[in-house]
């Protein structure tokens, strides 16, 4: 990252190679489809590039990158909601936010996870998929370790309740 800040093209190549897959996973985990996730990833790289002066060598890289990614995703959500609202006004069609999602995962567990509040789902994703520590997640979400722990605990207990109920029903 520091070499990238020094304008080393090889460092940029290496960073793009290493960081793009986890970034795409992060964007792809939301209600957006693959194409939207790729657009968000490119937008995120532009933001990373524009804000690279705010990275300090003494700080961990991934929370810094996820922090930028998180704002990129929030921005995309906001734009999408605004677009959906406009579509309703102009064409007088019902809210299509969920119907629009091009990628619908049929898996039951995926469906359960998608019912969690966005903030809890995000913490769960960073913990389980990205393999980040509580401290790193707190940094990425500009939060405290205590708040992250609480979100993870709530997500886990919601899933446990819902999954237990589903299992009982299935049994």
């Amino acid at each position: 990252m520091t070499q990238y800040q020094s304008a080393d093209p090889a460092a940029l190549d290496e960073l793009v190679r290493r960081v793009s897959p986890p970034l795409l996973r992060y964007f792809n985990s939301s209600q957006f489809g693959r194409n939207d996730a790729e657009d968000m990833m490119q937008d995120c790289w532009l933001r990373i590039h524009r804000s690279r002066h705010t990275y300090r060598a003494s700080e961990p890289v991934m929370p810094w990158i996820y922090s930028v990614a998180r704002h990129t995703r929030l921005d995309a959500y906001r734009k999408r909601r605004r677009l959906a609202a406009r579509e309703v006004l102009v064409a007088n069609i019902p809210d299509t936010l969920h119907q629009d999602a091009p990628e619908v995962r049929e898996d039951d567990f995926e469906r359960l996870v998608s019912t969690l509040p966005e903030s809890q789902r995000e913490v769960l994703f960073m913990l389980k998929v990205s393999g980040m520590s509580l401290e790193e997640i707190a940094r990425a979400t500009a939060s405290t370790v205590g708040a992250v722990k609480q979100k993870a605990r709530r997500a886990y207990s919601t899933l446990r309740r819902a999954w237990g109920k589903d299992s009982k029903n299935a049994g």
Partner: protein
């Protein structure tokens, strides 16, 4: 026993869910496009100073602008306050300024853990200002509560806008992404800044007037800042 079985099953499901997301890869074409977009503007940059340095600079801006405003404004209120009132309210406002400036400096640099959650900061600031005004100043009102208060609120608004703009211009040295937290913090630091000169020039040093027209207006502006930040959340505002 059955709960343990559900927990184990849930753990397995979580692992499987995580694994299902871990396989996502990017195409070489997409990676090439990203590199191509960034390389033309790849120039050496100097990293920003530490959060502590930003906090100190923001605090210096806070003190300098506040002192400048006090110097050029009417000082009627200053002569009406007792040393205890002056000392108490100055401590509260500078303390609030320090807290909000530190929080703002943290929001200028992505990837920093919050020192104090924004709701704690807001509660502390609110309790200190409203509690301070309610206990330090006498509970009496003159006849024309409304007509005395409106000019104070108007002046507070007039000072607030440029104060917020100054802090926003400074904060742009970092990477600013809109959020309710950023809106609250930016409005908070500006509100604390304008409360001091307002206090010094105001001739109505009574708790109801100060609480409603000074404190209430500040709270309104902070709320507005939070709303604007939330409406624009995620957007790059540097």
């Amino acid at each position: 026993m059955q709960d343990d079985a559900y927990d184990l099953d849930l753990d397995r499901q979580l692992e499987a869910w995580a694994a299902s997301h871990s396989g996502t890869q990017i195409s070489p074409e997409l990676a090439r496009r990203v590199r191509q977009n960034l390389k033309p503007s790849l120039t050496p940059i100097k990293p920003v100073p530490s959060r502590g340095t930003f906090s100190l600079v923001l605090l210096a801006v806070f003190v300098a602008v506040s002192a400048g405003l006090v110097a050029v404004m009417n000082k009627t209120g200053l002569h009406m306050m007792t040393p205890l009132q002056l000392g108490g309210i100055s401590t509260i406002l500078v303390g609030g300024g320090i807290l909000f400036a530190t929080n703002l400096s943290g929001q200028m640099i992505p990837g920093l853990r919050a020192v104090v959650p924004i709701w704690v900061l807001l509660s502390l600031g609110g309790v200190a200002v409203f509690g301070g005004l309610a206990t330090l100043f006498p509970w009496q009102t003159s006849g024309s509560f409304f007509s005395e208060g409106v000019p104070c609120a108007a002046m507070e608004l007039a000072l607030f806008v440029p104060a917020a703009a100054i802090f926003w211009l400074f904060a742009r040295r970092g990477a600013l992404f809109a959020s309710a937290g950023l809106g609250t913090t930016l409005a908070g630091v500006a509100a604390f800044l304008v409360l001091m000169p307002l206090q010094v020039q105001c001739m109505f040093q009574q708790a109801p007037h100060l609480l409603v027209w000074h404190g209430g207006t500040a709270l309104l502006m902070i709320g507005l800042g939070a709303l604007v930040g939330n409406a624009l959340r995620g957007r790059w505002v540097s």
